[in-house]
Symmetry: C2
Subunit: 211 residues, 2 copies
């Protein structure tokens, strides 16, 4: 992109600092609660620098979402590689456990996404549109993963069940995060193990059920 990688590497560094700061702020306060003044205060950079790196607030937030999504996806275990223990229930448990950890440990992306997903403006911010896209991307990855876990039966039926599982899976992850945020007294690790068993049982039940 930027052709002066060596010349002024300060620029790229500032850009990253701005993104980091914006992510921290936006994940706490949402789109409207994020102001350029807060970003400049956090980074020590003047507003003109922010606007040199990003066209406007909308684009800044959109790129911040993209930034946090990529980092989350790279840190979190991908849905592509499987554990392959032979026991599907065990694999589901492991997968859900890791997914819930990736949310609990670095919650910025999930927080920011939930906020963007909830808000509704007359003209949709680019950040929200982008979030819906990456969420769909994630849902499809989860669906593919479920298709493999549930492989063996009728492919079309497996695909249908996997789609429902992926939706349910995402819903549970959203719900878990909301629960951690809003209710006290969660024993996440233990609860996730138990839920995983329920989720897998659910999938098997759906698979066996008449169309």
């Amino acid at each position: 992109m930027r052709k002066t990688a060596r010349r002024h590497q300060q620029g790229e560094e500032s850009r990253l600092r701005i993104l980091e700061a914006t992510l921290a702020i936006a994940a706490e306060r949402g789109y409207d609660g994020t102001s350029i003044a807060l970003v400049t205060e956090a980074t020590g950079l003047p507003p003109s620098s922010v606007y040199w790196h990003f066209r406007n607030k909308d684009e800044l937030l959109a790129e911040t979402l993209e930034f946090s999504y990529r980092r989350w996806r790279d840190t979190a275990p991908t849905w592509r590689d499987r554990t392959e223990t032979g026991d599907p229930a065990e694999e589901v448990r492991d997968r859900l456990q890791r997914a819930s950890h990736s949310i609990a440990d670095r919650p910025e992306f999930w927080r920011l996404g939930l906020m963007l997903g909830l808000a509704n403006r007359a003209k949709e911010p680019a950040a929200r549109r982008r979030y819906i896209e990456v969420r769909t991307e994630t849902r499809i990855a989860i669906r593919t993963w479920w298709e493999q876990v549930l492989a063996g039966g009728d492919p079309e039926r497996g695909r249908d069940v996997a789609d429902r599982m992926a939706r349910f899976h995402l819903a549970v992850m959203d719900g878990l995060y909301m629960g951690i945020r809003s209710d006290r007294g969660w024993n996440l690790e233990r609860l996730v193990d138990l839920i995983a068993d329920g989720v897998y049982a659910q999938a098997v039940a759906w698979l066996g059920e008449a169309a």
Copy 2:
């Protein structure tokens, strides 16, 4: 409260109009996205009227949450009366179906609550504190309901499972709402029935499991 119930009933009417308008706006745009100017525009009343009825924005939002909560609770089936069909699985299905409808049909309270629950400010808005309270209230009501549905075994163990079920239950409701909002292609009614069976099976499994 207000002693001129007959004299000037216009006042109370204006108050309600302000609450309605604020709810509609805040449920769409969140705390920071809600401005007094938007409220005055929606109601046709001047800012001074808003500030005559409510001390400041914080209190306005808090009372709006209270207002929407009461309406949701009165509209939605209470957790106190049970269906008592004799079949617990059927009752769970019915209950979850009605709960999901109460969210899908009049989503304002749930939307606003989720937004308030997510946001995190240096000084916590009264509206958010109040939301955490009514959420806890709801969670306890759900727990009590589960205790009754699962009655029969060891009471202490039933209470423990009911607590976990209530958390899980809320998480699923939150997750369902997020899913409807963010993902397309939901078949809510059907999915909820299936989830209900899974949820109930989960509860039974937890009940039977060794402590």
